[in-house]
């Protein structure tokens, strides 16, 4: 059995009075595409931010390849946040240069080729690109790294089905096979086909972690079906308006 790439032990994190992660325990190994699944507010984004070093846990331990998130782990983690994070004045080629300057594992040629395939002019400024194209540029940059860990926060949320296909195929065709991809999403039906393993997160805790094949065999249903069963909320039956 290979050593764990990600290790989280009794991790607690809160924003003000709201506890987002409540004693989370987790272990993820290398060489897998893992779905981090859970309803809104389950703590997916917070967990990814802890792993990328953007947040510090209040209690507990987060380790990547045995190291606390910091300068060393950032050079092996490729993080895609759930929002655009580039300065609008920058051109696409400025961003490519920036990634090339700071990340030793960045493949410039790959990034330029992907831009060319998508007919993205790298001389254009970010502010002149559409929202969808900005997201594609961000994904291209993140996936052009030969990282040990890819943290993708809601990569397919808010894009049309055609763009979803592009994003998923980009992830599948470009990630480092020796590394791990952790995808946070609640659009399970779309990502299910590329996942090796799933982690169900609820109220800041891992409630289930299993290989997709085992899960399908045990439950005799798709991951999407199981997700709907696990996180089903009772719908409001309606009623009379009070006068």
């Amino acid at each position: 059995m290979s050593a764990a790439l990600i290790q989280c032990q009794d991790v607690w994190k809160s924003y003000g009075k709201k506890e987002v992660l409540r004693g989370l325990n987790l272990q993820v190994e290398s060489g897998r595409i893992v779905g981090l699944l859970g309803p809104n507010g389950a703590g997916k984004t917070t967990l990814l931010k802890l792993l990328s070093g953007l947040l510090q846990p209040e209690q507990g331990m987060v380790l990547i390849e045995g190291e606390v998130p910091g300068c060393a782990t950032k050079s092996m983690v490729s993080y895609l946040p759930d929002k655009p994070y580039f300065a609008d004045w920058m051109k696409v080629q400025d961003l490519i240069e920036l990634f090339e300057d700071f990340y030793a594992d960045f493949d410039r040629m790959k990034a330029e080729q992907m831009c060319a395939v998508l007919e993205i002019d790298i001389r254009r400024k970010m502010k002149t690109l559409s929202k969808g194209t900005k997201e594609k540029v961000q994904l291209i940059l993140v996936m052009s790294r030969r990282a040990k860990l890819y943290l993708l926060d809601e990569p397919i949320a808010g894009v049309d089905p055609a763009a979803r296909d592009f994003i998923l195929s980009t992830i599948l065709n470009n990630y480092n096979p020796d590394g791990t991809v952790l995808i946070s999403t609640h659009l399970i039906a779309d990502v299910e086909r590329i996942l090796d393993e799933v982690i169900f997160l609820q109220n800041g805790q891992v409630i289930r972690q299993e290989l997709v094949d085992n899960l399908r065999e045990k439950e005799r249903k798709s991951v999407d079906g199981l997700f709907r069963d696990v996180f089903r909320t009772k719908s409001y039956e309606g009623g009379e308006f009070s006068c």
Binding site: Y15, G53, K74, K83, A87
Partner: protein, 278 residues
């Protein structure tokens, strides 16, 4: 990595400042030219004189407007580069780069200090440009007073302490600019700790820091003054040759550097341990 961060921050700042600096110098040159050889005598009323005065007046207004714009822009952009660059969406990029938080802070601080000092230099240079392009009479008067100024300034230039004093003034000036910028950054970092109303939190933090600085600074300066001031007054005849001014300047420089380091540590600690980009 620090060099690379400085390169990117500088690129971001210069694309906004260079056009402004050029504009400032061009307007100064035009003001100088428009005021050249204007007949200022009372009897010289004529249509062309009125027109010349109108052009000169307009250029003075434009120059003043550009000067104010440069000052406002320098302050706002230095604040914006830190707030937007580290504490808003761009922070996601900067804090996931394989660099330490102190490097991010240092890069922002160095670039903001450089740009502010350059803006001050351009402001002074633009006044020199006006003088150079304005009438010969003004130039003559200024050069004669300049000679007086030069003599006064350099009368002690043979003193061994003279050039060290000049160097210390310069360092005090640069470090004071840096300290003021770091004070604003420290206030923003502390404001970032607030759950809500972070801008208000930053403003309150700035007022708080200023009050503490004023209190502690006054005590420190009084101590320096009481120890050195009297000695300086008594040795006023040999003021520039005396070693006391040097000790005084060094003390001021040291105080400024200490404040700078304290602010740097505050910012670095907040960003390393309490960062919250939500």
């Amino acid at each position: 990595m620090l060099k690379k961060l400085i390169k990117y921050d500088l690129k971001s700042m210069l694309r906004q400042f260079v056009p402004m600096w050029i504009l400032m110098l061009v307007v100064a040159m035009m003001l100088g030219i428009s005021s050249k050889d204007i007949d200022t005598s009372f009897m010289a009323f004529s249509l062309s004189r009125t027109r010349d005065h109108a052009i000169m007046g307009t250029m003075m207004l434009v120059f003043a407007a550009v000067m104010v714009a440069l000052i406002v822009m320098t302050i706002l952009f230095c604040i914006q580069r830190f707030w937007d660059g580290l504490l808003k969406e761009e922070g996601y990029l900067m804090f996931t780069l394989p660099v330490e938080a102190w490097e991010l802070v240092t890069a922002k601080g160095i670039v903001a200090t450089l740009v502010t000092c350059a803006s001050i230099f351009v402001g002074i240079l633009s006044i020199v440009v006006i003088i150079l392009f304005s009438s010969d009479e003004v130039l003559e008067v200024l050069s004669s007073s300049g000679t007086f100024f030069y003599r006064t300034l350099f009368q002690n230039s043979e003193s061994p302490y003279y050039w060290i004093s000049i160097l210390l003034w310069l360092l005090i000036g640069i470090f004071s600019v840096a300290k003021s910028i770091y004070q604003i950054y420290a206030a923003m970092a502390l404001g970032h700790l607030f759950e809500k109303h972070r801008v208000a939190g930053a403003c309150i933090s700035y007022v708080g820091i200023s009050a503490i600085l004023s209190f502690v600074g006054n005590i420190a300066m009084n101590m320096i003054d009481s120890r050195l001031g009297r000695e300086m007054i008594h040795s006023s005849m040999e003021l520039m040759e005396s070693v006391y001014p040097l000790v005084y300047y060094l003390s001021v420089l040291l105080l400024t550097v200490i404040q700078l380091i304290i602010f740097h540590v505050i910012i670095e600690r907040v960003l390393s341990t309490r960062l919250n980009l939500e």
